[in-house]
Structures are given as structure tokens and as C-alpha cells.
Symmetry: C2
Subunit: 215 residues, 2 copies
DNA sequence: CCTTTTTTGTTATTAAAATAACATATTTTT
DNA sequence: AAAAATATGTTATTTTAATAACAAAAAAGG
């Protein structure tokens, strides 16, 4: 029912690797190359491609030019990928100006905030008052939003976004919101990732789990 | 060989949920509660706890106060969790001032950058020149860093960090760096997450995969 | 004080994901 | 032109992870 998120993540990585290889002058790529680069087995690379009907040559690997083009279509890079940023505190403004987005064809259409002090309607990427968000989304046909608001506001904003044509959200608020059938939420929880790393380090040090009984 | 990252992520979520329940006046919690909140089965909740020797009462669920305390020890929250931010552009400075960190006991010890314009040695969380990073890490015993530098610098910084007592890194640069045996790298790739969402939306619209042959 | 209910802790089962294996097609080499 | 080598595409196997099932313990009710 739900498409494998992990497969798509790998396709995105394959594409990025190939883009870089192309820059180095390579024309063909082998499943072994991509496997090494992404850290999976060659058979998984071939299987991933197979799922989407991407084929190579029984000998001679894959033509990158062609493969990248097909991947881009599969990944929707032929369409304009417009997003909005909701919450223009430090993090939100950092994302509005993030040059990694245009580089991969993602365009920030606008930012939104409730604080009049941060509004800037005249900027190249305008920061508008939150009251204008619904009309803006409808008018521009925005489907994806990035949420960089304080935790308490996150859920209520999600609820109101569900009544618009927004279909997916990246949530930076430190609360794990859950996806539903036709509304995708991807949580990015930096503090959780850091806490996870601290655990892994501590565990690696040999402290292991606390409750080890003899068996 | 490698500890399950997914289990720890769930433990962190259980703890967060319980913290909130505690705020609402609850004293006990059942595996069903946590399962609902986190979106897994009750048996998985109990299994996760079981792995770490966390027990409840055969009837009456788990005492939250006690459980949270034990979880915090397992997750290393009894220790000081100091981190540094490498790269003090907009994103790095947003993280330095992020109040989500102190709230969960993570302390940003300093930021580092090569650009003299952003340095500020006198600030509560100082921004120091990158040349001072090695001494700082050693002196303060920093084990975790957040990398918010432009993509081209990321790998070389990782390489030099591997020669220090840093054991784990959160990488915001849009390049998937790989963990090794005793150096953990957790990539946070916002554009990749967004591209993934766009794919999911497009797929949900019925366009599906491009290469479907009859079979 | 015995019966019923509830919820844990653990084992068994199912489901999913990744790897390994191999037959087939295509070059290259001799 | 035949034999050897190579890398795909697909099937089989293994590994991993999650759910379901259930026996045992503890509380509640009559």
C-alpha cells in the first residue's frame, strides 16, 4: 500500500553519486560502483533499478546519462518542486536562504510567520503573515511544507494544513508526528539524533545494556 | 555487532511521551499507551523494555517515574552531553541558539568557523576559529559534533575529526558520509527528505513506477 | 477466599528486507 | 569464430524486525 521510503532514499543516493561521477568524466557505471558508494550490495542496486524498469547492458553496466534522466523523471524532478517554510525563526530563515535547495531544483516559494517583526513581503523569497498561508497554498498549488515552529504549535498547524492541498510536511519540531493515509509527515529531530549518537558511543565503550542476567 | 539504532530511537520516543504524560499527572503507563503514541505494537514496546531489563507489574503497567529514570541512565542522560557545532553559517548559528538542546540536557560548548567575520569568543556560547578546534576538543573531552559546513569541506573535516576524541557526528552537508567501526555518522539531508516526500506524493497520485511490464 | 480480569514477559509466527547465487546476454581475446 | 570473461536481471536463501499469541503474575470483585 505504501511505497518503500528506503528504496527511494537509495535511488536518490545513486543519482547523487552518478551526478558526481559524471562531473569526473565517467560515462558508464556498474552496480558494484554504486554499491560501494552507497554501502549496500550490488544485487540490491540491480534490484532497486529493476523495480523501476531501469535497465543496463548485460556487460558494460549502465549508461549514466540515460539512467540519471530516467531517475529524475521517476523522482519527479521534471516537475517544479515548490515548498513553503512555516515558522521563520533562525532555523526557518536559514532554510529559506539555503542554497542546497535551488541546486537540486527545489524552490522555496515563501516563508510564513505570525511575528510581524520578521515579515518581509518584498524579499525575493517573501516572508508573509501566517494569515495569508491558506490562500497562498491554494493559489500556487503548494504541496509540500517545512515546519520550523515551536513544538506547541506544530500539531495545530498540521491540522489546518490537512485542510489545504498540502500533502507532505517535513517537521523540525521535536515531537514525532505521524503520517496518515494521504498526508505524509517526515520528522527531523536533531536532538533525538544526537541523543542516539551519545547512546551508541556509550554502548561502544562497553557499558552495554544495563540489565544483563546470566542465561 | 552494531547496536540497533531503531530500538534506541523508540526508547527516546517512549521517554518523551512519558515525560509529557507525567506533565499531565499520570503516574502509570501501559504498553498499549506507548504503542498508540509511537505507532508500534504493544508487544514491541514490552520487548524493547525487556531487552534493557526494564520491568513493570504483571498487572498495573509501568511506574513512569522509575521507568523514565532508568531510561535516562540507559540513554546516557546522567552524563553531561556536550557537543560542538562546526560551520557557523545560518544553519550553524541557528543550532547554536536552538533552545531544544538545553531542554533535553544537550549543551553546545562552542561553534567553530574559518570565517573571521562570524567569530565571537566572548559570547556565552563562543564561536572560535577552526584552528583552535583540536585543542578545544581534547581539553573539554568533546565526543560529538554537528557538521553544518558546505558540502566540499565535509569529508576533509570528518577525516581530521577522526584523529581527535570525537566519536560521532551529525552531518547536515548534502552528502551521505558513512559510519565506520568506531566513528558514527548520522546524515541529515533535508533536500533528500523533501525529494522523497515529493516522490511519495506523486506516487500516491497514481502515477506509480514508470516501467511496468505485463507479467 | 476463590474466581475473574487484566497486563506483563517471553516465545512462536509472520512479514519484510537484504544478500547471495546463478543463468543469460554481451563483449573481449585468442 | 569459438572460448573465456564479465556484469546484468531474477530467483532463492538468509537475516532481521515486527507482530501475534499465550502462560503466568497481580489486582479486583463477589
Amino acid at each position: 500500500m505504501k511505497t518503500q521510503s528506503a528504496v527511494i532514499e537509495r535511488l536518490l543516493k545513486y543519482r547523487d553519486v552518478m551526478q558526481k561521477m559524471k562531473g569526473l568524466g565517467f560515462v558508464r557505471v556498474f552496480s558494484d560502483n554504486l554499491a560501494d558508494a552507497v554501502g549496500v550490495s550490488p544485487s540490491l542496486v540491480r534490484k532497486d533499478f529493476s523495480i523501476f524498469g531501469l535497465t543496463g547492458n548485460k556487460r558494460g553496466g549502465y549508461q549514466m546519462e540515460e539512467l540519471i534522466a530516467k531517475l529524475n523523471i521517476i523522482l519527479g524532478k521534471d516537475r517544479k518542486q515548490k515548498i513553503i517554510i512555516i515558522g521563520c525563526g533562525k532555523m526557518g530563515r536559514a532554510l529559506i536562504n539555503y542554497n542546497g535547495f535551488p541546486r537540486v531544483g527545489i524552490r522555496v516559494a515563501a516563508g510564513f510567520d505570525s511575528d510581524p517583526a520578521v515579515l518581509d513581503e518584498a524579499a525575493p523569497i517573501p516572508i508573509l503573515h501566517i494569515s495569508k498561508i491558506k490562500d497562498f497554498i491554494t493559489e500556487k498549488g503548494i504541496q509540500v511544507a517545512v515546519l520550523t515552529v515551536p513544538e506547541p504549535s506544530a500539531q495545530s498547524i498540521i491540522d489546518s494544513l490537512k485542510k489545504t492541498c498540502i500533502k507532505g510536511v517535513i517537521n523540525f519540531a521535536p515531537v514525532s508526528l505521524r503520517s496518515s493515509e494521504n498526508f505524509i509527515i517526515q520528522n527531523i529531530n536533531v536532538e533525538q539524533e544526537i541523543e542516539n549518537i551519545f547512546y551508541q558511543i556509550h554502548f561502544a565503550d562497553g557499558a552495554a545494556s544495563s540489565g544483563e542476567e546470566s542465561k
